[in-house]
Symmetry: C2
Subunit: 342 residues, 2 copies
């Protein structure tokens, strides 16, 4: 940040740029922004504010700066969101978007990855994030809902019924890494069941393939105009999630799902002529927007997906090479995922 | 409004509910909301604020209350928008969305329609709105742009290139009523050329019919996911605009366009099984959202369109009956539009 003197030069690449504080509805969830106040922005911890300039995704922060920004974000999430400057309209229900704890969990994961002291500092925060994400499993475990009340109850109306299969799958692999790090087999199995298999079952288009962008938990028509479109990022998140689930559990059904998603993804999103992926297809899989980048599609989801999948596939091949003999069963998981996403 | 004692019981139905102050991007323009401040809301004239409760479109206001609300809106538009509570993010360009002056012009029209004193009070405001709308004709008269700078210059980037054909057509008939009321033949011809014919030429889908929702003035791919969808309201606004243009000018090309839009509209949007119109079709004309109402589709555009078109068609038939003989030419305009939209 301007005017600070970095104490560490270890660069930290910020997490998902589409989840940074911004204006308007969250691009991945389609939900109204978390309610803040109309008072002048309060920026308690370090006085950070959204600033003009190059997109944050392109900034490399020193670790000290990253920790300061993390403190600010935690303050916004757990103490007082009014510093984000988002208007609080009377009558809007108090709700928690799953985006908030899940992106925070990913930040905990990233910051603690190469620093045991930081990992320790953020351990309680990570557990808090995981608990909040798990509250989004509703309806006797039969649906992941994007928005719930502050105390984890289903909200009324289409806000409460709103589902985002790609977001649930992304939360799934964030949670799976958390569960693996904690060595919690019960949580690992729960996450695979509720955040990987369940969103895929409801979210995969049986007619045209691909994951729907938004759904309604009662099967009603969503109110978002783009609900039936197929976006690149839910598919890249699904590839990571299923390959991580397979690496962890050895369940061949998860490998099959990885393959199914990858096959659709490389067939439909990839541009064989000029490279890169298209970002936005209509329900039938036709390219709806020819842009390769835009306000929300940047250089983030695709490289993260490819790097993590390549690393996980490499680790799986190494484990197969170490197995006693072909067909003797899948070697035990050694959490290759823990090395991913650097 | 609560606690006020109405001095007049003449009810006033508010104008387009989708244009009322709200949260997030404007539903018709897809543009970022007009920049306000993050300070506490300022509500100078009468202390009106966005309130919870039933949608404003369902409220009948007394004339006194309507005038008070109008004063508040004018203050927000011309003096200080910070009372709307919308966050001002640093780096966002100061821009004027065409939605603001055009909806205000429609309010001027509605409030002055049955009250000559009010019409006089708002005359200067109406002229101001018209001048601001006309600033959105850019590129040597070859494009109507949804957003321009405060002093009427094209903005850089996709914000500046953003086009909304249905919005331009709606602004067209607002302006046409204004020009007819003022008895300004030059303005009438200009409006028909720039706000009726031009947006239709660029906005009509040559492959599948229907008006695109959003376009880019350079023919690039818009960044809005729903840009190629066909929405009900641009078509209802186009029907009004072309029928009003024909009623005013007698140009058969405008009658032909009215018919072309109406034929598409009643074929594609109408639900022959359960009545009402669907609101959202994909590019090919397939129903994309089965809802008949939603956050933005209410009981407004369809009845306004049907009532105004019925009235204008009736007036045209009356004029034909009064014409000396068939084929002797179109009778002169007598501004039937001035009676519309009650």
């Amino acid at each position: 940040m301007e005017g600070s003197s970095p104490s560490s030069l270890q660069p930290v690449v910020l997490s998902d740029p589409t989840s940074l504080p911004g204006n308007g509805p969250h691009p991945q969830t389609g939900s109204p922004p978390r309610q803040g106040g109309a008072d002048p922005p309060r920026t308690r911890p370090h006085g950070l504010r959204p600033r003009p300039g190059p997109p944050l995704s392109s900034l490399l922060l020193t670790q000290k700066e990253a920790v300061e920004m993390m403190d600010q974000i935690v303050y916004w999430v757990r103490e007082d969101p009014s510093g984000l400057g988002r208007p609080r309209l009377p009558g809007a229900p108090a709700s928690e978007s799953m985006a908030v704890p899940m992106m925070l969990l990913n930040l905990v994961d990233q910051l603690g990855e190469a620093d045991e002291e930081l990992a320790g500092n953020y351990a309680e925060l990570g557990d808090w994030c995981a608990r909040r994400i798990l509250q989004h499993v509703q309806r006797d475990g039969q649906a992941v809902l994007e928005n719930v009340s502050e105390d984890g109850e289903e909200l009324s109306g289409c806000l409460g019924r709103h589902q985002n299969p790609g977001h649930a799958l992304e939360a799934g692999w964030f949670l799976l890494r958390h569960a693996i790090r904690k060595g919690d087999p019960k949580l690992r199995a729960h996450v695979i069941s509720k955040f990987l298999l369940l969103p895929f079952r409801s979210g995969w288009d049986p007619d045209h393939g691909g994951l729907f962008y938004f759904q309604d938990a009662d099967g009603l028509c969503p109110t978002q105009l783009e609900w039936a479109m197929k976006l690149w990022w839910p598919h890249s998140e699904a590839m990571i999630a299923f390959l991580m689930g397979y690496s962890d559990s050895g369940d061949p059904a998860l490998l099959h799902l990885f393959y199914q998603v990858a096959e659709y993804t490389f067939r439909q999103f990839r541009d064989p002529e000029y490279g890169e992926w298209f970002g936005y297809l209509n329900q039938e899989g036709k390219v709806a927007l020819t842009i390769k980048g835009g306000p929300f599609k940047g250089c983030f989801h695709v490289p993260r997906c490819l790097a993590m999948c390549e690393e996980m596939l490499g680790a799986l091949l190494s484990r197969l090479a170490l197995a006693p003999s072909p067909g003797s069963g899948f070697p035990p998981a050694v959490s290759p995922a823990q090395q991913g996403a650097k």
